[in-house]
Amino acid sequence: MLVLIIIAYLVIAYLDAPEIWQKKYWRELAVMGIVWLTGLVLSLALALNLPVPSPGKLLARVFGPVTEWLTRLIG
């Protein structure tokens, strides 16, 4: 699984990076690299069953009470 993930991400990098490199769009390359790296790290962490905080849970903690208040207010 880990190998598959790494291969997949390498393929993505291979498809996208060379063109950007040739055009010398360094800014693009940096942003892309950050997104790419985040994705890779996150995928690996998920594959290794590391405890990653879910953004859904985060939203729920903040906006759960808000929604509940709204629901009680009007519904």
Binding site: D16, M32, S54, A60, L70
Partner: protein
Amino acid sequence: MREEGYISPRQAAVLLWFAVLPTAILFLPSLLALRAHNDAWLAVIGATLAAGVVALIVYLLAMRFPHYTLFQYCELILGPVAGKMAAMVFVLAFFLLDAVVIREFSEFMVTAVMPETPGLFFSITIVAVAVYAARNGLEVLARCTDFILPLMVIFIAIVLLFATPEMSPRNLLPILENGFRPVLGGTLVAWSFLGQVVILATYGAFVNPPRALKASLTSGLLGIAFFLTLVTMGTIFVFGCCESARQTFAAYALARVVSLGQFFERIEALFLAIWVGGVFIKITLYLYVVALGLATVTGLKEYRALVTSLGALSVAVSHLLYQNVAEIRHDLLMVEPGWTLVWQLLLPLLLLIVAWLRGKRRTGI
């Protein structure tokens, strides 16, 4: 950053239809029946009115900044720092929404159709196609809809038409049994879907002429409301409110009861195929908007390079978001309304007010 192509107002409306309806049609009827019981369809109409406010804000902003995307005029209105932050909130929100849609899609496929296939497989395949489409730009996607829209409209019509023998319209009565409060509760839930019309603020910049946005917004929103009301009514007609609420995928259940004269039945596979087409458009559109937004915020010349990486990341995030369908449902009921209220209504409203106070406009480019 700008895109090279333009889309027609009609295509913008159709894209708007696809930006809301595919997932709404599958998840909303059940949730609405839970909240608003028999009056679920009224909740849709209520939410449409609320979404109309968003549409109005989007239109007024677009009139002040024609041919600018939401991410661009964030900076124009709020200044570079606050503007970038606001634009980043939009990017994150659209990204999260995209991940949610991907997860909803794969969860539905796994639950209802192919339980032995890992959900990840569905997310990866649809995102792979979406990445390919998003890299080709908005014009291509808009032309895709020309193919899928008739299929989807015809099929919704077929399901509703052929389910009529199973329907009993008296299930709708009594109207407003418990007053307006349950309806408003349902409106809140439906709102979080219908408020997604805010997406037109991003790709609306490529509509030519900008003034025609008014027509796209109105017709798109009315189209969404029309079909959503029909499907919600259909499920209530067929199942009554208790059973509609119990069915996790009420629209799919509706397609499953269609049985015409012993031979025209089991059409849910067809429903599925066409629905996947709709979800594909939705996922692609959001992926495109996220890439465009991120490129704008970071000041890139090209968004294309970001699409693939963003797609991969969204698959990972979608996998991370929820444990199961029950969590999605809980989220749609109890979290999304508050969150969407902030970024789909309050934030655009803030932008509009600030733009109006500061007298910012950028017309005549």
